[in-house]
């Protein structure tokens, strides 16, 4: 590739052909502001904040969308450029609610930051805000169209990364709006509530549905017993909210913090993750034996399940009938655990802490009442828990640590893996391979790790090759699903996670911009797995006890009643 030398604010820099001015400037240490630009997305060039002067060109050039050419002389901070940027900011701000003080993105808002950077202290244009109702139609995410700055980042992620196509544009000119398809409520659109749009949004136009108040009400009620389960990906990312590297927060510290907030019992979704492997592993073996409904798809991810329901309703029998770990846990906490602990299930408030916005939706799915109660009463995301910690003055990184409550707190390294794309597959393979007899010597299945969109591997069970695939991001899932629809899928078992990188990149996680951040969290997952004494789901002693004391056996009638389900799309949130 040809090397091209350009001058940026007088700094000579040489970059490969095809480099944008924005990239070239970053390389030369020159900061150019952006808003619609997103490092993991196609260039849209619609906000025009990044305009710069290019010698010999009449108009200003969008740095994100202009490729450098030999000898180009670029100026990024002339009076004309700064005035144009400030005008554009004034235009955006004149229509943006000025409620920064009580906005959930206060302090993390990209627009707020730009306004500060460009010292926009007055606005020549009269304020003219949208007066639109908020969209509370989904249990997972809330859209505040009033705050939208029309950067299209949410549309891009929903369309290109997820192929969900729930968001689009309506109207023209000044009335242009981002709306759910055909301008319906979000819940009526194909939205799967994965929440990737939340990460994409530079402002607070899309957020999780906040349930902190609901939680605090339960905690403060002396009659209620608040029990929580924590998903594996939560703890790793939570550190970031308090300035730590992914994974720095120890599980004991998190348990300690949650107890201090007022949770009565802190347990682990991980326990149910191990349990899932027992059930799902056997289900796989059964299907392999019978050659029925193959490939089998995992069903841990509610965003993926809803995606399959919306786009592939005819192929739902390929999904494992296993509930997700959250819902297995929920069904057990008000039955088995309540019995064990001698607590009236009526009094239990089952809270789960998840990296995920779709989990909020999963918890209220009409099928999820197998304990005869709502199996999970409420779901809080990692971000909500972080807010709760801040509000209560707790820095979990500084806590000494405490231990989880008895029963349903034990977990293996396999369960931890659930937090990263490929983890369910790896956990399942560890168990399934050993169920066939013998002991695995090498238990790391590196082929299914990492950020590659579709990962595949072949394992041998009883000498027969079993082909497995792992997809994260729904666009990749779509590719595999299309193969199934066409009758051309070469696979036997497929793991799908809706979010890029799996749950570590979930819609409820601390705001995540790039795949690089996701990869770092992934690494933290593998580090933790490596550090655990037991790393295979079938080694979980508490799960063994559960089968002995309560369920009878794997795939027993009772297990089916509590731990399995059949999915069909319920459009209405009833």
């Amino acid at each position: 590739m040809t090397a091209i030398t350009v001058s940026i604010n007088g700094i000579k820099t040489t970059v490969p052909e095809g480099t944008s001015i924005l990239q070239a400037a970053a390389g030369a240490g020159v900061h150019i502001p952006t808003l619609c630009f997103h490092p993991d997305q196609e260039v849209k060039a619609n906000c025009r904040i990044c305009v710069v002067e290019v010698e010999g060109r009449n108009n200003l050039a969008p740095a994100c969308a202009t490729a450098v050419s030999e000898g180009m002389v670029i100026k990024t901070a002339t009076r004309r450029v700064l005035a144009a940027r400030r005008t554009i900011l004034e235009l955006i701000l004149a229509r943006h609610p000025q409620d920064c003080l009580h906005c959930s993105r206060n302090g993390t808002c990209e627009l707020q930051q730009l306004a500060a950077e460009y010292d926009v202290r007055y606005n020549r244009f009269p304020r003219d805000e949208w007066q639109l109702p908020l969209d509370y139609s989904t249990p997972g995410i809330v859209r505040d169209p009033n705050k939208c700055v029309l950067c299209h980042r949410c549309i891009e992620v929903c369309t290109a990364v997820q192929t969900v196509n729930a968001l689009g544009l309506a109207n023209r000119g000044y009335d242009t709006q981002v709306v759910p398809s055909i301008d319906h409520d979000l819940f009526e659109s194909p939205c799967v509530m994965c929440g990737q749009c939340i990460h994409a949004c530079p402002v607070a136009a899309i957020t999780e549905r906040d349930q902190i108040d609901e939680l605090m009400e339960a905690i403060s009620d002396p009659e209620k017993v608040v029990v929580t389960q924590i998903a594996p990906a939560v703890r790793l990312a939570l550190s970031e909210e308090f300035g730590g590297e992914p994974g720095r927060l120890r599980m004991e510290q998190l348990v300690d913090g949650l107890q201090k907030i007022g949770f009565d019992y802190v347990l682990h979704t991980n326990f149910a993750a191990d349990l899932t492997i027992w059930e799902e592993g056997h289900e796989l073996l059964e299907r392999l034996q019978e050659g029925r409904n193959l490939p089998m798809f995992t069903s841990c991810c509610p965003g993926w399940v809803r995606f399959a329901e919306v786009y592939y309703p005819g192929l739902l029998n390929h999904l494992s009938t296993c509930k997700s770990p959250q819902q297995m846990f929920g069904a057990l906490v008000k039955t088995y655990w309540a019995e064990k602990m001698g607590i009236d299930p009526e009094k239990i408030v089952s809270v789960s802490i998840m990296p995920c916005t779709a989990k909020k939706y999963e918890a209220v799915r009409p099928e999820m009442i197998d304990s005869r109660y709502a199996d999970v009463d409420m779901v809080l995301t990692t971000r909500e828990i972080a807010r709760l910690f801040r509000m209560t003055g707790i820095d979990p990184l500084k806590l000494a640590g405490a231990f989880p409550a008895p029963w349903m707190g034990e977990y293996t390294g396999a369960a931890v893996l659930f937090g990263a794309s490929g983890g369910v597959m790896e956990a399942a393979l560890r168990t399934v391979c050993e169920l066939q007899g013998g002991t695995l010597e090498k238990i790391d299945f590196c082929d299914v790790r990492g950020m590659k969109g579709v990962k595949e591997a072949t394992v041998y069970l009883n000498g027969k090759p079993v082909r497995v695939a792992v997809a994260h991001s729904l666009s990749n899932a779509r590719v595999l699903m299309e193969q199934v629809a066409a009758g051309e899928s070469p696979y036997h078992f497929i793991e799908v996670m809706a979010c890029p990188g799996g749950c570590i990149g979930g819609g409820g996680q601390p705001l995540t911009r790039t795949d690089r951040d996701r990869a770092r969290r992934m690494q933290a997952i593998y580090d933790e797995d490596r550090g655990r004494q037991r790393r295979k789901a079938h080694e979980n002693q508490e799960v063994k006890a559960l089968y002995q004391d309560y369920l009878g056996s794997v795939m027993s009638h009772k297990a089916h009643e509590l731990l399995h389900t059949r999915y069909t799309l319920k459009r209405k949130n009833t």
Partner: protein
């Protein structure tokens, strides 16, 4: 290959034979129909049948003389062709009664005659000598209004498809491109990019699949050049597209035409069908091995779809929204394939260039702008219509010679050229030659050819407001400056027109206009401020009058009007008092009346009613 030549001779013979018959032609383009051409047609038809006359009736496209529609022509064997204007059903019958039965033309209705080689009738002006046609050239519009656009035979008889034949039989792709380059043809849709270079880029893009697109999404207010060509001579566009297809190596073309042009679509469909039936379009055209099909894509009327990338999105079924260029369509266009996009008039120019040669074409026009350009003359001009002029002609010639000057002897004030993306040019620049570069110098642009003439009763702030309202509503909403900025400009203009403008408004407006112009993503936003910048440049004092003196010098901005009764001229007849809907006028009979400005709604009904001219606006 010789079959088309033979056919042409045959069609020419047939056409010549038909000239020896009595023929009545009626202009039934959209303009003719709107003026009542169909009623004339029906009346004539009924008359001919009732009288049992042996007459050929023919419908034609637009001759360009919109001011004289409906137009009816009468051809008698051995006589000139007489063109009657402003024909009503009754007068048509009256004219025919005299002309067909007694051989007596009716000079009072005749706009001109075309001798076509016969002895001209005395005392009747020849069409080409009339003010309207004198300075015009007829290359692109040569056949419009002469042939029946729904008869492929007419097109072929008039030299149609000769260029395609020539290209397929004796020219290489590169030779075609070189010929177009040499002609100096530039895009007639607005930007004025050299057509030959565009074709060359598409030719150089590798790939087995390429597309040719004809942009017929004519959306400027007051522009109807493309519509007239499509309605009056659709085959010329098809031929131009096919030649382009051959030159760049495409086998498929799309005409993106707005759905508001149903007649154009109908005629295009017929033209495509007829051409395919004759083997002029479709597979293995004229046994040359070259295949080319043309499809029609009807646009839903978004102005921004005239922008090439938005247009392609629209054909692909996506929201009509422009994207960043590069890549240009020549590299990655429709469905990601190399694509050449030109507008209707550009393609319609191509067959002539191939047939008569690049030199013939380049002889017209100026150094940097060759050939002719079709303009749609509208506004306060006497002769509205469609005029094709050599590029480089002065604005004065167009407005005063062709257009006949200003209606009602009012004073000329400005001409808006280039539609909402263009600018207003004042009287002081009337002698500017119309070419791509001179117009840009003046803050306007050639655009697609809309020319709106304004007289002294036009408020330039109001004009800017009008165009801004248009572009604001037509903005696709993608980029911030165009979506938000044009609206804010519009708000300021509205404020000024309502007398609520503040001293800082001109600065803010100018400032904002420059930002929108220099930061918008596509041509729509980049040119949307032009009407504001041009009026600020040439008519700044009008803005200032509105803001500082709260006056609208042209008397257009209602909120700034004072309706005053001159007590010396008022005879106290009470007519104004009776007509006033707001009870704003008081006064006793035979005594001067007065208007309560608080109550007055400025409807001006009193001004129109007053027999003494005593009421004025100021």
């Amino acid at each position: 290959m010789h079959s088309l030549k033979e056919m042409r001779r045959e069609f020419q013979r047939a056409f010549n034979v038909s000239t020896n018959r009595v023929k009545v032609a009626i202009g039934l383009g959209t303009c003719g129909i709107a003026a009542g051409g169909e009623k004339v047609w029906n009346a004539v038809n009924e008359y001919v049948e009732n009288e049992g006359l042996d007459v050929d009736m023919m419908s034609t496209g637009c001759l360009g003389m919109c001011y004289a529609e409906p137009i009816m022509e009468v051809h008698m064997p051995g006589e000139p062709r007489f063109v009657y204007g402003n024909v009503k059903p009754e007068t048509a019958v009256e004219i025919l009664e005299r002309h067909l039965k007694y051989g007596r033309p009716s000079p009072e209705y005749i706009v001109g005659q075309d001798p076509r080689g016969f002895e001209p009738a005395p005392n009747i002006m020849e069409l080409k000598d009339t003010g309207f046609f004198k300075s015009q050239v007829k290359t692109v519009l040569g056949r419009c209004g002469i042939i029946d656009p729904e008869q492929i035979a007419h097109y072929i008889a008039f030299g149609g498809y000769e260029a395609l034949e020539k290209v397929l039989s004796e020219m290489s792709q590169i030779e075609v491109i070189e010929e177009i380059k040499r002609s100096g043809l530039r895009g007639r849709g607005g930007g004025g990019f050299p057509t030959g270079r565009k074709w060359e880029a598409a030719y150089n893009s590798p790939g087995p699949k390429k597309y040719v697109i004809c942009n017929a999404d004519e959306g400027d207010p007051g522009a109807f050049m493309d519509r007239s060509i499509l309605e009056g001579d659709p085959h010329s566009v098809l031929e131009g597209m096919a030649i382009c297809g051959y030159a760049i190596g495409a086998d498929e073309g799309y005409i993106y035409v707005r759905a508001e042009y149903p007649l154009a679509i109908k005629r295009l469909r017929k033209a495509i069908q007829d051409a395919e039936a004759m083997g002029i379009l479709g597979d293995n055209i004229l046994d040359s091995g070259f295949s080319f099909r043309i499809r029609i894509a009807a646009g839903a009327g978004a102005f921004v779809c005239g922008e090439e990338t938005a247009l392609m999105h629209s054909i692909e079924g996506k929201r009509g929204m422009p994207r960043v260029r590069p890549p240009y369509p020549a590299q990655s266009g429709l469905w990601g394939k190399p694509t050449n996009i030109n507008n209707v008039e550009t393609y319609a120019n191509v067959p002539g260039i191939i047939r008569k040669g690049a030199d013939w074409f380049a002889a017209m026009g100026t150094d940097n702008s060759k050939g002719s350009k079709v303009f749609a003359l509208t506004g306060k001009i006497r002769r509205t219509g469609l005029a094709e002029v050599p590029i480089g002609i002065s604005l004065r010639d167009v407005v005063f010679d062709i257009g006949g000057g200003i209606q009602n002897d009012r004073k000329f004030k400005a001409v808006q050229i280039g539609g909402p993306s263009g600018g207003c040019i004042p009287a002081s620049h009337l002698d500017t030659p119309i070419d791509y570069d001179s117009l840009i110098q003046l803050g306007a642009m050639m655009g697609s050819g809309g020319l709106v003439v304004m007289d002294e009763d036009t408020c330039m702030v109001d004009v800017a407001r009008y165009f801004l309202k248009f572009t604001q509503e037509e903005s696709c909403g993608k980029c911030t400056p165009c979506r938000e900025g044009t609206m804010r400009m519009l708000q300021i203009l509205e404020r000024i027109c309502q007398g609520q403008g503040g001293p800082e408004d001109i600065d803010t407006l100018e400032n904002l206009a420059l930002v929108v112009k220099s930061t918008s993503l596509c041509g729509l936003g980049q040119s949307a401020p032009n009407p504001v910048l041009a009026t600020l440049r040439y008519f700044r004092s009008e803005y200032e009058e509105h803001i500082f003196n709260k006056k609208c010098p042209a008397g257009i901005c209602v909120e700034l009007l004072d309706i005053i009764i001159d007590p010396a001229a008022c005879k106290g007849c009470t007519l104004c008092k009776n007509v006033c809907p707001a009870d704003a006028i008081t006064g006793e009979r035979k005594k001067p009346h007065s208007i309560d400005p608080e109550k007055c709604i400025k409807c001006q009904a009193c001004i129109m009613k007053c027999p003494f001219g005593a009421i004025t606006k100021g």
